[in-house]
């Protein structure tokens, strides 16, 4: 099956970004949205046309790019990345629609979102390490401008922090790539050629000490991705961006970049380093456990919606890492599924918090004295309150809501291997019930705080862009079977090579 859907999906947004830059604002919005939706339709058709129960790569497209270095334009989808294609397809039209009325440089913002969409689609579908690195690196750049131009008071500092971290991350990942590239003969960046333990037993000389290439490359790559995932304690830039970036930009970061980083970590580790994965998995699970604890503990103290979202994201990342590191079919499938659901739930939460911030001019719900600064939204704006309720139920993993599937599968898959981590996850979920419901009470229930009386419910446009997010959260919670059937064969095949 090769119908160029992947290329269309990747380059539609880029073409749209260029086109919309040359037309007036009124038309540019439609072009941007149109390009994003076209790419999304390609993505959705691509996933829907995939064969279930097939572990192989599908819809593959391969062209030589830089022949001298054996770099190729190699794109394909399989069970691991199909859900992320869906997520990105859903996310970006929603984000563009949410910034429809942006007054400052709307073309610039939409253009950057489109570039980001291209970059993330590319990073997800790339089957060549260099190509993956290229798109992954490209995905860092739009954030520098999006935060630096449209951010809050501390935007320069936040955007600088983000680009410095991204550069450092890029440098580490590139070092890993160089190590891998020169370790095989003939040299290659192709994931297909490098998979199946081709790096096993290979050593390289570093200051007179012989080190295993797998171990070094894994360390470089995982730290590089941990910087952008974000994994505690490399998350400081992330929480700073949460505070300074516009809501839509932070949603793009937490719902788009973070799941993609986790996907790259999972895919590259499973494919490239199967022989060290036994011990590497312990490190991954350890990082996940720390994320769960720290994310939960820090979320409890939050008084603002944005930073709260950042720590919720941190905690959820911990759960996904737990699934990745479990190396069990159930846990790994749960981790892949949770990447999608994390993206959707974070999108819903972030957009709701953006709407509240726009209406009230603040995202702080409890001030330094412990008094509520919002409140009473549920009776005046029932739709936004219901959407927030559904998102919270999904984040907590109520049965029938999206998060349940991922949470249950990760716990089922991890318990027999890492019972202590599962206990930590349980504690983290209990903490989440506390802080999420406390936030819900402060923001949506009770009497409105003084000086905060009028609150308009969702407009038609807001309903339109929140509808797909909420529908997806409910649909994927109630009927996960088709997606699970897509993921399972790929995960089982990958795990069988590890064993």
């Amino acid at each position: 099956m090769s119908n160029h859907l992947i290329s269309l999906m990747i380059f539609f947004p880029l073409i749209g970004a260029v086109l919309q830059a040359f037309v007036p604002n009124a038309r540019s919005r439609w072009i941007a949205l149109g390009a994003s939706i076209c790419a999304s339709i390609c993505g959705i058709v691509l996933v829907m046309s995939m064969h279930t129960q097939v572990a192989d790569l599908q819809a593959a497209e391969s062209l030589p790019w830089v022949g001298f270095y054996a770099i190729s334009y190699d794109m394909a989808v399989d069970g691991l990345n199909a859900l992320l294609v869906l997520l990105i397809a859903l996310l970006f039209p929603v984000l563009i629609a949410s910034e429809w009325n942006q007054k400052i440089g709307v073309r610039g913002m939409h253009g950057l979102f489109l570039v980001l969409q291209t970059a993330l689609f590319g990073a997800v579908c790339a089957q060549d390490l260099f190509l993956q690195f290229f798109f992954w690196g490209l995905s860092a750049l739009p954030f520098f401008f999006l935060v630096g131009i449209w951010g809050g008071e501390g935007r320069e500092r936040a955007s600088l922090g983000a680009i410095v971290v991204a550069s450092l991350s890029g440098a580490l990942i590139f070092s890993a790539l160089v190590l891998i590239y020169y370790s095989v003969d003939p040299h290659s960046f192709s994931l297909r050629e490098l998979s199946g333990g081709r790096l096993s037993g290979k050593l390289f000389d570093f200051l007179g000490v012989e080190l295993p290439i797998s171990g070094a490359a894994f360390a470089l790559m995982s730290v590089g991705l941990a910087l952008r995932a974000p994994i505690w304690p490399f998350h400081g830039w992330f929480t700073e961006i949460a505070q300074e970036a516009p809501s839509s930009v932070f949603v793009a970061l937490s719902a788009g970049t973070v799941p993609v980083a986790l996907y790259i970590l999972m895919k590259d580790c499973y494919l490239l380093f199967p022989e060290i994965l036994g011990s590497a998995a312990q490190v991954i699970v350890g990082a996940g456990t720390i994320n769960l604890i720290m994310g939960g503990l820090c979320a409890v103290t939050q008084r603002g919606l944005r930073r709260l979202l950042a720590f919720i994201c941190l905690s959820e990342v911990g759960l996904i890492l737990m699934g990745i590191g479990s190396l069990s079919p159930t846990g790994a499938v749960g981790a892949v599924y949770q990447q999608l659901l994390l993206g959707l739930a974070v999108t819903g939460f972030g957009l709701c918090s953006g709407i509240i911030s726009d209406r009230t001019g603040q995202s702080i719900f409890v001030n330094a004295e412990g008094e509520r600064t919002l409140g009473g939204i549920a009776t005046r704006a029932p739709i936004v309150s219901t959407v927030a309720g559904i998102v919270i139920a999904s984040l907590l993993g109520f049965p029938g809501f999206g998060g349940f599937v991922g949470h249950a599968l990760v716990i089922i898959g991890s318990y027999s291997i890492h019972p202590v981590t599962v206990a930590v996850a349980g504690g983290s979920l209990l903490l989440a019930t506390y802080y999420l419901f406390a936030m819900y009470r402060s923001v949506f229930l009770g009497k409105p705080a003084s000086g905060f009386q009028a609150f308009q419910d969702l407009t038609i446009r807001e309903r339109a862009y929140l509808f797909p997010v909420v529908t997806a959260l409910l649909f994927f919670g109630l009927y996960p079977k088709p997606l699970i059937e897509l993921i399972r064969p790929t995960v089982l095949t990958l795990l069988s090579t590890i064993r």
Partner: protein, 648 residues
């Protein structure tokens, strides 16, 4: 006999429609005529029809149980499968019918419901919660059961939607959903751990609960978490603090949606889990925990000043006592007390609310008040195991089983039973003093008597006395409990013990009734005087043994820890130290590099200068005439000739 179904049964479809109607009323209820109550009635009638249709089939097919199953998240045949499905047997159908009837009886109190600021939220809450309980009872695995429990909790939370704009009600609502969700998550975690031991978790199918040898601990831990999560739904000690704040909501509604329905959803799962819990060895340990919890809950209830908390705690203690019954004497006796106390407390709560309102005196209002007081005492009797009510059979069986235990444990059992019954009657005496008149409609009065009717022993056991006589000489029709749980066998050798148990049981009940009358029923409230004499103890007990304060302190510690971590990592390390050290580091490096660069440039300049200077000086000497150019030329030629010849 089991019949496998290939599609959804009428009852499941009707429950799903009720859920959909509830969600519709929640979303659009404000704009619907009559605030959507007619939609709710339509849903209720549909479920009753569904139950009727499926019950008819069940009778026609001689109790052939219907089962429908499917893999939800993972294929059903695989290990670690998350399976959902329904199990349609007489017990499940009866409980669904009872749930719907109770919801309908509550809806009959329109005069009260209309006083709520947003009645559509109440209607939606009732529909969603009732659908949740029904789903929970009909489920064949804990997964769907827990989904039903989640629905019943969501319904209970939506109920508060009527008063979400009050700070106090918001606090109560969040506490309700927070605590119960915590329990739900624990139960889900337990089910997940059980599934990780490669068990399919199908009720009535023991093989599906078997874990392999090394995974036995998983099965044990998973079961403990599952049971703990379900037990939390009973809102008994240590979670009684949530019952202390007095909500402005119509009390029977709060009783129904915040206590009865979540507990029914959870208890259904506990009853179905009972064989596995016995096999895993969780009984009777769980029973002892439930018994101690009952004791502490009852003690707290006895020291409550207001009837709302008293009735709430009586109901909670009744639920935990039912759990103790389940552990010690099986599902039959547990179910009987559970039903009795649920229906009885609904009746008591309804009666108390009717009397609390008061009105101007007229013969009609006086007459209604008398009927309501009668309903109040009958409701208390229904929940306290009085002869003739369904709860009686359970209490008696429990005491009979307790007599088999060593060490005089029966005394403890009787003491707990005595306190529980005492709390019920204390509440009743106190409520009866509220008012002599009431303005509630006859529909409300009838709804209370309908609850009492449903709690009659005859209704469930087929015996007038509620199956408390040896050999059941008063049996008029066959027992529903026999159909649900199989016939009750009392061996000949046990008859003497049964009589002793009966004596002890009835004695305890009568003693509790008279004690309550002596303490509270007379003009001077002796209990009130006793409470005043020990104000600190009373406060400690009434406010839930200081558990709330303890939890608050623990949360304060968590907050402090979180704050410190955030302050250190996010603010100090990332926002101060790291940028500062990077800045300083880069500056130092830059200065050093700059100094090095300067030195190197100077060196290069100097070297270059010297390299250029030597030939330049020579040329200068030639130019100034200090060195004759021909001499320089001759010397160079001579040197070249010499070199040439030397080479040869």
């Amino acid at each position: 006999m089991i019949a496998l179904q290939s599609s959804l049964t009428p009852i499941l479809l009707s429950i799903l429609i009720l859920l959909f109607l509830g969600l519709s009323v929640f979303t659009w209820g404000e704009k619907l005529p009559g605030k959507g109550s007619w939609l709710l009635w339509a849903g209720i009638l549909l479920v009753i029809s569904g139950v009727g249709f499926d019950s008819g089939l069940l009778l026609k097919e001689e109790f052939k149980i219907k089962v429908w199953m499917t893999g939800w998240i993972w294929p059903r045949e695989d290990l670690s499968a998350i399976t959902v499905g329904i199990f349609q047997d007489p017990l499940n159908l009866s409980m669904i019918l009872l749930t719907i009837l109770v919801a309908a009886l509550t809806l009959m109190n329109q005069s009260f419901l209309c006083r709520e600021p947003r009645p559509e939220k109440v209607h939606a809450g009732i529909a969603i919660s009732a659908a949740g309980v029904a789903v929970s009872w009909i489920s064949i695995t804990p997964w769907l059961g827990l989904a039903g429990l989640a629905l019943s909790l969501i319904g209970g939370f939506i109920l508060f939607g009527s008063r979400w704009d009050s700070n106090f009600e918001a606090k109560v609502a969040i506490r309700f959903i927070g605590e119960k969700s915590g329990g739900l998550l624990l139960a889900l975690m337990g089910a997940s751990i059980l599934t990780s031991a490669h068990t399919a978790l199908i009720f009535n199918h023991s093989a599906s609960w078997m874990g392999s040898g090394e995974l036995a601990s998983s099965a044990w831990i998973g079961s403990i978490l599952l049971v703990m999560g379900l037990f939390i739904q009973m809102q008994t000690f240590p979670l009684i603090g949530g019952l202390v704040p007095v909500s402005e909501l119509y009390p029977p509604l709060r009783t129904l949606l915040n206590q009865v329905f979540p507990a029914w959803a959870a208890f259904g799962l506990l009853v179905k889990l009972e064989p596995e819990l016995i096999r895993l060895g969780l009984f009777p340990g769980f029973g002892w925990i439930a018994l101690i919890s009952t004791l502490l809950t009852v003690l707290s209830g006895l020291f409550q000043d207001r009837w709302r908390q008293g009735v709430g705690l009586w109901l909670s203690s009744g639920y935990s006592l039912s759990c103790a019954f389940l552990a010690f004497s099986g599902p039959r006796s547990a179910m009987s007390l559970f039903l009795g106390v649920s229906l009885g407390s609904l009746c008591v709560s309804n009666a108390a609310t009717s009397l609390e309102g008061g009105c101007s005196y007229n013969p009609n209002s006086r007459k209604r008040a008398i009927w309501i007081k009668l309903a109040l005492f009958l409701g208390t009797a229904a929940g306290s195991g009085v002869v003739g009510f369904v709860s009686a059979t359970g209490g008696l069986q429990w005491i009979s089983k307790a007599m088999e235990l060593t060490g005089g444990m029966v005394a403890l059992f009787l003491f707990v039973l005595f306190l529980f019954v005492l709390l019920g009657w204390k509440n009743a005496w106190k409520i009866s003093k509220l008012s002599l008149v009431t303005d509630v409609s006859w529909a409300t009065v009838i709804s209370q008597f309908a609850c009492i009717l449903l709690s009659l022993g005859f209704f469930w056991t087929g015996c007038i006395t509620g199956d408390v006589l040896l050999g059941a000489p008063d049996r008029l029709v066959s027992s529903g409990f026999d159909v649900f749980f199989g016939p009750l066998v009392v061996e000949v050798g046990q008859s003497e013990a049964f009589l002793t148990a009966s004596g002890l049981y009835w004695g305890t009940l009568i003693l509790a009734l008279f004690t309550s009358y002596y303490l509270v029923g007379r003009k001077v409230d002796q209990w009130e005087l006793l409470s005043r004499a020990i104000p600190k103890t009373k406060k400690f007990l009434a406010f839930g043994y200081g558990i709330d304060e303890l939890v608050l302190r623990m949360m304060a510690l968590v907050l402090k820890a979180g704050h410190k971590i955030e302050l250190f990592v996010d603010y100090k390390v990332w926002m101060q130290w790291m940028p500062h050290s990077l800045n300083v580091g880069i500056k130092i490096l830059s200065n050093n590099m700059s100094g090095f660069d300067e030195k190197m440039s100077y060196g290069i300049r100097l070297t270059l200068l010297r390299v250029v200077e030597v030939p330049a000086k020579i040329l200068q000497l030639i130019q100034t005439g200090d060195v004759r150019w021909y001499l320089f030329f001759a010397l160079s030629s001579g040197f070249a000739v010499l070199l040439h010849f030397l080479k040869i």
